[in-house]
Symmetry: C2
Subunit: 465 residues, 2 copies
């Protein structure tokens, strides 16, 4: 396991202690070339030189890192390039060790400055999947950048993370004697700082992607699913429709939930209610079971507005005949007829076809974070986290994946590559081939990427450093 | 059990088929007198004549309906007037039979009109608790009005409620042959119509209260917790900090969750982010563990903004020293320093003391609705729903209430008044008296009202009518 699994360090103006900012990110600098395409980062073991032409898209065999390269915690990884929808693999992945250095604050009168000592004082691990759309550029940038944003955010709160309870003041000086009592009454825990750091890192990364794509004249967006181990806890942060689940001998537990136009309907409709100009008179914010037609005018039809969980009837007016803000159901649901996810990174330039209507105000970059306390789990040897892009979950349920895990691992305890093989087997199960372990022949036409992260031994006793 | 438990029917302009609108609600009509105070509606069995002076507030004994008056499903009810905070009992209750008549639509060209047949075609039952603040007026109006709003909303969707699946068009005519398929794909069920009707009824009632209080020159607001039985299901709709739980032999299940400035922090902060003018430069939307002081300026302190579940640090600026939009924790948490709840009815005139800052934009009248499928519960004789205002839950946990229920009911099977006695015992348990069944001496200083609704037999076989 090495830092080498990360793409070369990404940096941008303002990152303390980072390398010199890339000219690409400097406002007013010469327009750089486009974000170079990167093949499957983990399986190819490198990225194409910036000037190399993009490799042709070959719906290829399942790919995994070479056997000599060990991922953090001996995790397994596999991917397959599937779809005809784009020339490139739009899935990207990253993983590695997260080395957090200690912050030291300047003198009291100069609180805004902090310096980073060279020594690490906390070590974590990081696994991430990014599912791109509109090209792979955003996913590549996210794979290059998000871990740096996160490290910086964690370093900025380092002092708070090692205390039993986060101090009210980061400098540790107690301005008010009852500060600890207030923090305790609010129930603020160390893990809330890590959650806050993940939330901030996603937003920062989103801003970087927006700047870099604009500077490069490129477009695109991606979902982001990240698992971070830190001080005996596993944090799963999700923005988009990838999914992570915990699989144990007798348990399957979702560690994330999907953010789609359907699952975030009320938030999205509410925004359109507050800022109707975002719809430019082209869309209706109301939801109907199907798109309405002239024949429906004056009829009483089922509808839902932003404040409703239930359904009601309304008399159809002319404005209801517009295209719905959210239309379709299940995998077909689309935001503004355009996008199947409602959270993610990038898409700053994305507009509805042939209009000036922007998607971004409706998209959130903030992830939802779930915390798994590994020290309290009484981990067993076959306990794993499975993280995968939507291509897997479109054809396999949580329970089907769990059964595959539970039937594969116990018989392969001696195989040091069993988690990698399990990841490959999960990929094969999406291809509907004869002999696929589920025997149900489901086929995924999307790119699919899978991490299998074993929790036993690595997860235990890691609470110190 | 009779309709008599409802206050006299409330009506207002626009209610189809209802009695003549009261002059009070007509814009421009003569200003009516204030909303008359109503003593405990269920225990006193009536309301004071409009001109009678408000009865003095006597922190009195626990009160229950007289034994001759049976509540729907033989439910038990008890209440106690406790607090010194106001002259009146600010809790109000209502329950009764909900008789829903059939709607008939006019000819096609006149879809907006419908007529109500005199015959009932659906019967439900209704139990409601309203916990007032700023005086009892809003709670009294809600107890007078909400069931009428709900009946009207249910009558408007009557045809959809008796179908196996709600029709896309209320008239039942299928404009598009694939309509049923779209409704099925969206997963729209009959219960979604009832949820929609409850949501609309709360909003309609809120508007009525706003109009009537303004016309009467009165102020105030109230929380609302409603249970409705209909076609074998129990719907629990909640806006505020009352609570309903299901208690069975081996199970305690919350049927509602509380809406307070703490539980709705992100929604409230988000609104202030979108409309900063709502805070009139007097408040900060950020949350801190305590109110900041001049000494904190320039320091890095813990904070949360609208998009954050976790906590982070920020450098304190002058604007952070303003009073926080949400301040305090637990029972002490207040919205704009004023209100302990974030959903409810009324409060249209409520402003922050000595300012023009309105509370209402931050308050929602929309309830959250939980559905309990009674036919699927395999009900047993001691299964009950306990509904109570916050005065009970401030001193007793769900589990403590469940233990009291589970220890009382089995020994009192022969007593026809056992549910009423149980409601009284729960009230007594909040008074910290010697011999209180919990023996832990907690004391509630708030008004407390409790319904105990037995589910067995009444709940079963009621799916037809």
């Amino acid at each position: 396991m090495s830092r080498g699994w990360f793409p070369p360090p990404a940096s941008y103006p303002g990152e303390p202690g980072g390398p010199v900012p890339r000219p690409a990110a400097c406002p007013g600098s010469a327009r750089p070339g486009p974000v170079p395409y990167r093949g499957p980062p983990l399986s190819c073991g490198g990225r194409a030189p910036p000037d190399a032409p993009a490799p042709p898209r070959t719906p290829g065999p399942c790919a995994s890192p070479p056997r000599g390269r060990t991922l953090p915690w001996n995790a397994g990884y596999a991917e397959i390039i599937n779809a005809e929808k784009s020339e490139f693999n739009e899935d990207q992945a990253a993983c590695g060790k997260l080395c957090i250095r200690r912050c030291e604050f300047g003198p009291e009168e100069d609180q805004e400055w902090l310096t980073l000592c060279s020594e690490e004082f906390l070590t974590g691990h990081y696994w991430a999947l990014f599912d791109g759309h509109g090209g792979p550029a955003a996913a590549i940038l996210a794979a290059n950048t998000l871990h740096s944003c996160l490290r910086r955010q964690l370093e900025a709160i380092g002092e708070g993370m090692v205390a039993t309870q986060p101090p009210m003041h980061l400098s540790g000086r107690c301005v008010c004697p009852s500060d600890p009592q207030f923090v305790e009454e609010k129930g603020i825990r160390t893990e809330d700082l890590v959650i806050g750091a993940l939330e901030s890192a996603f937003q920062e990364c989103d801003e970087v992607i927006g700047r870099e794509l604009e500077a490069a004249g490129q477009v695109g967006g991606c979902t982001a699913l990240v698992a971070v181990s830190l001080k005996g806890k596993l944090y799963v942060a999700n923005a988009g429709d990838s999914r992570a689940i915990l699989v144990r001998r007798d348990e399957v537990r979702p560690l994330s939930s999907e953010f789609t136009p359907e699952s975030e309907r009320q938030r999205i409709q509410q925004l359109a209610f507050v800022y109707p100009e975002l719809l430019a008179d082209e869309f209706t914010r109301l939801e109907f079971p199907r798109r309405l037609k002239g024949d429906d005018l004056g009829q009483k039809v089922l509808f839902r507005d932003h404040y409703m969980s239930g359904w009601s009837y309304k008399c159809v007016e002319k404005s209801d005949l517009k295209y719905p803000l959210i239309h379709g159901q299940g995998r077909q649901a689309r935001l503004l007829g355009t996008l199947a996810v409602s959270r993610g990174l990038g898409d700053h330039q994305l507009r509805v076809l042939d209009t000036n209507i922007q998607l971004k105000p409706f998209l959130l970059s903030v992830p939802q974070v779930t915390v798994l306390d590994l020290d309290q789990l009484e981990l067993q040897e076959e306990d794993v986290v499975v993280m995968a892009t939507d291509g897997l979950w479109d054809v396999l349920s949580n329970e089907q994946v769990a059964r595959l895990v539970q039937s594969f691992l116990p018989g392969n305890r001696e195989d040091p590559h069993r988690f990698s093989e399990l990841a490959q087997m999960l990929i094969h199960s999406t291809q509907g081939k004869d002999g696929s372990p589920t025997g149900e022949g489901q086929v995924s036409y999307d790119d699919v990427s899978v991490f299998v992260i074993p929790l036993y031994s690595q997860g235990q006793g890691s609470s110190g450093h």
